[in-house]
Symmetry: C2
Subunit: 536 residues, 2 copies
């Protein structure tokens, strides 16, 4: 496949802009294909994951470009925020919602929100304050207070893909759902926070503005969720009402994909958080819509969404890798390399501290509210959660571009340093963090059968896995009566308050929601859920 | 869903370019969703097909835009050639190759090439000559000889989607495969022809240039086919060699989609015909690659490709409809409405004549070579073929934009008239032709059981349906011996020459190709082919 790249490099000078885009697309398709093939060959490797492979290939490609064209062709490589937020992120987040084990997710909902929202806010505060205090001692250009707050938001956006690739969802459902759920809520929190900061005049912060900021944040959080749920329900209703004959699989699949994307774009249109919207749209679609379509459509959508998400992820890592080698942004910084290294180190330290500052205290608080041992988060698991959120990814890069390229591109020293430092931190945490993740997790969490404590905590109460909120597993009966624990309502509310909420939700779901919007048990044939394999 | 459009219109003035693209995407997603829902509701209609619905919705939308913004927002609507040729056309053509009934296609291969390539050349010659002679009498701007030849290529590109939506593949395999195959080969021919014309200096045509043109045409035709077959075989080989464990459906699906797209982009990169390449890549992929993947991947790719193609088709019609209402290009023309109408009428007449000039003579020639009655093309079927190719579609629009916007956009009278006339002809043929297709086909070809002649010709020789080239049906045994007709080789060659080619191809396929590239019978589980339903 090497000749594709060779011919691209050869022809770059000869082609019109249209034709250059043909080159760029071909190059990206070739690279994506190589990433998938190489990723498959390296699957058994002790250190490498698919995302690091993609990042490395992207970096190599960037270097080859740089050497061959002597910095002339940086145009092909510039990171496009639009491409990222409009095309690559939505399928990843939607698929996350679509394939999430809803039972686990809602069971740990409060802990996830605690980590994802409150934790991100703590991390945001520490990084903003820290950078505002420490950067003054370094010789960088003028930064406004809004820039420091933006930095906080940029660096509180974690990227837990690496860890999730290593963690086994079947072996450690609690840990997986926490890391996974925190990742999604954290993405949404930092983007919402970032947008809120950009929209307010922060030259003089008063308590009123702080309150408004917080109000805006809550408003975005809730309205985005409501929009996602609404679009998801609408899709379920349309497909249930119209597709009685259900003779066109293509139409069903197209409708599901289009409406999922619609939820994201509508959120963006109304200045809400598309990430949250499309995530909840995915959850609702897998609970209702997915059960209203034919079996072929189910298999198709399940794998098509996963494939889209998979390709988008690889694309992003490839892109970040290639973009890092874009020479233009390094030109300004190279005059003061010491400052740039200093900024990167400070940011890295703040990231480490900011994360430790909430994971351990919040775990402690979360553990206080849990009665049973199996719901508590052990110390080793806390370390894993802390570790999983150290990596910074494409969201940080995209937000950094948004904030620091608005006034005069990367020509200003301050802006250029911020962008290159973001890239440095992203590359460093992803590569070093990514390489160490597999060994670290093997060390901290050996396979369950060798770890007495964890296996005990996970197996001691199998019952707790049988109380679903949005029940979706094979074991849950569509007739909800069978699922109610054998205790009376009042005692149940006392001992496991959230389980009781689940109980009443299921009652409501079966009595009101399912008859209108379809779902498991309200369609002729009842296979598994999107999270479970139907045909392997 | 009306509020989406309303808010788009409301905000168009207020947004930055980035945000305007969010508006445009949301609008298109909403419109696509409506087209699918409305198309489903109108399915039983006597007149309407999905493509006309999409075109009508696009037109309405364009009118609403025009009225609301008073012509200011034409930017959202401008037809982008890149979008069409890089993103929308490849999935449609690939899916055509992937889902084609290969047996029928290769059985009628010579007739299809005759209609698609030779026929398109005849049509091209008549339209070029006719327009060169007739346009001189009208008062339009200066047109070069290259422009007239380009017009010939533009208007020899047919769009048989409408007819294919109405024809039943099971009831009339011969007719369907002819119309379908001609459509694909015709698309490729006209695009290749168009590119060849643009690349040569045509100010003074000599016999050398004509010969070069023809040589270039043949070169493009064969090299494109070879490239498509090569990429298809490579994908089959990679997936067969690497995916022994076959534990990742997503990787298989991603690889198939990426390599299909890669074949198209590589053809474009090497200035070949992407349409032909991706079509043959689709055929090879459905014959080899598709059999090397897991059953989930098979179901997923089959429906995912069909869905992509379906959505792209609707998108194109919607787009052409909206673009037709773009005010800028009508402004210049409105000064001389008579000329514009005259040009459109002349083109329409030339299209009708050009098509008749080859369908009936070539059918006659084709019938001469056929021995058995069932292979001959009856008069009513000839009329259907003639009718199916009258519609002009997005390929014509895209080529017209390419030719007539290069020198000074639509400000020049000649260019403006050519573009508006193309749109007029496309709209007229698609709407009028599309509306009449269903009734006409019902009139010409009533369901087989009432049409003695046709049922006879189709059932008299069931054997002929059992001799596959790239055999793929359920009835064909992987062990090829069973398929050889009970006649000796020489007599067979005499009576049915093309069947004998099939016979030796199958021998070669089983002995050499399948062991290397996989395919039916060379993978553990053997379900149906992409053209057959597995789970309905």
């Amino acid at each position: 496949m090497g000749f594709g790249l060779g011919s691209v490099l050869m022809r770059l000078g000869l082609r019109s802009p249209d034709e250059a885009s043909v080159d760029a697309i071909t190059l990206f398709v070739v690279l994506l294909t190589s990433c998938i093939v190489i990723g498959h060959l390296l699957e058994k490797s002790r250190w490498l994951t698919e995302s690091i492979t993609a990042l490395a290939i992207g970096l190599c490609c960037g270097i080859v470009f740089l050497l061959t064209t002597e910095g002339k062709s940086s145009h092909v490589l510039v990171f496009s925020e639009d491409l990222f937020f409009i095309y690559l992120l939505p399928p990843i987040i939607f698929n996350a919602g679509f394939q999430v084990k809803k039972k686990q997710f809602f069971r740990n909902f409060m802990t996830i929100i605690l980590f994802g929202a409150v934790g991100s806010l703590i991390s945001f505060a520490i990084i903003s304050l820290g950078s505002a205090l420490l950067f003054k001692k370094l010789d960088i250009g003028f930064l406004e207070i809004g820039d420091y707050l933006a930095l906080g938001a940029i660096f509180s956006a974690t990227d837990s893909v690496c860890t999730l690739q290593v963690l086994n969802q079947e072996e450690r459902p609690l840990l997986y759902s926490l890391v996974f759920g925190e990742g999604v809520v954290n993405d949404a929190t930092s983007v919402v926070l970032f947008n809120a900061i950009q929209r307010f005049d922060l030259s003089h912060i008063t308590s009123t503005i702080t309150l408004q900021l917080f109000g805006n944040f809550l408003y975005l959080f809730f309205s985005s969720t409501v929009l996602g749920v609404a679009v998801g329900l609408l899709s379920a209703y349309i497909i249930k009402k119209l597709y009685i004959g259900r003779h066109s699989t293509d139409r069903e699949v197209a409708l599901m994909i289009l409406m999922a994307y619609l939820s994201y774009m509508m959120a963006e249109l109304f200045y809400l958080s598309g990430i949250l919207t499309v995530f909840f749209c995915g959850i609702v679609m897998s609970h209702y819509t997915w059960h209203n379509v034919t079996e072929s459509s189910r298999i198709t959508t399940k794998h098509a969404f996963a494939t889209l998400s998979f390709v988008s992820e690889i694309f992003i890592f490839l892109y970040v890798g290639m973009d890092a080698m874009d020479i233009e942004k390094w030109a300004v910084v190279s005059k003061s390399p010491g400052t740039s290294v200093g900024v990167s180190l400070i940011l890295l330290a703040l990231v480490l501290i900011g994360r430790a500052a909430f994971v351990f205290p919040l775990s402690f608080i979360s553990n206080l509210t849990k009665k049973s041992q199996n719901d508590k988060i052990g110390f080793k698991q806390q370390v894993t959660i802390w570790w999983a959120g150290l990596m910074r990814g494409a969201v940080s890069v995209a937000l950094a571009y948004n904030q620091f390229t608005r006034s005069g591109h990367t020509q200003l020293l301050g802006n250029a340093i911020m962008i290159t430092s973001t890239i440095t931190v992203v590359l460093f945490t992803t590569v070093v963090g990514g390489l160490l993740t597999k060994p670290l997790i093997k060390l901290l969490l050996p396979p369950p059968k060798h770890s007495g404590n964890i296996i005990f905590s996970e197996l001691s109460s199998p019952k707790s896995f049988n109380i679903p909120l949005l029940a979706n597993g094979q074991e849950s009966d569509p007739d909800m009566g069978a699922d109610v624990p054998h205790e009376d309502g009042l005692r149940l509310l006392w001992s496991t308050p959230s389980h009781t909420v689940h109980h009443y939700w299921r009652k409501f779901d079966n009595a009101v929601m399912r008859p209108v919007f379809g779902g498991r048990g309200f369609v002729p044939c009842v296979p598994g859920s999107p999270t479970e394999a139907i045909i392997q």
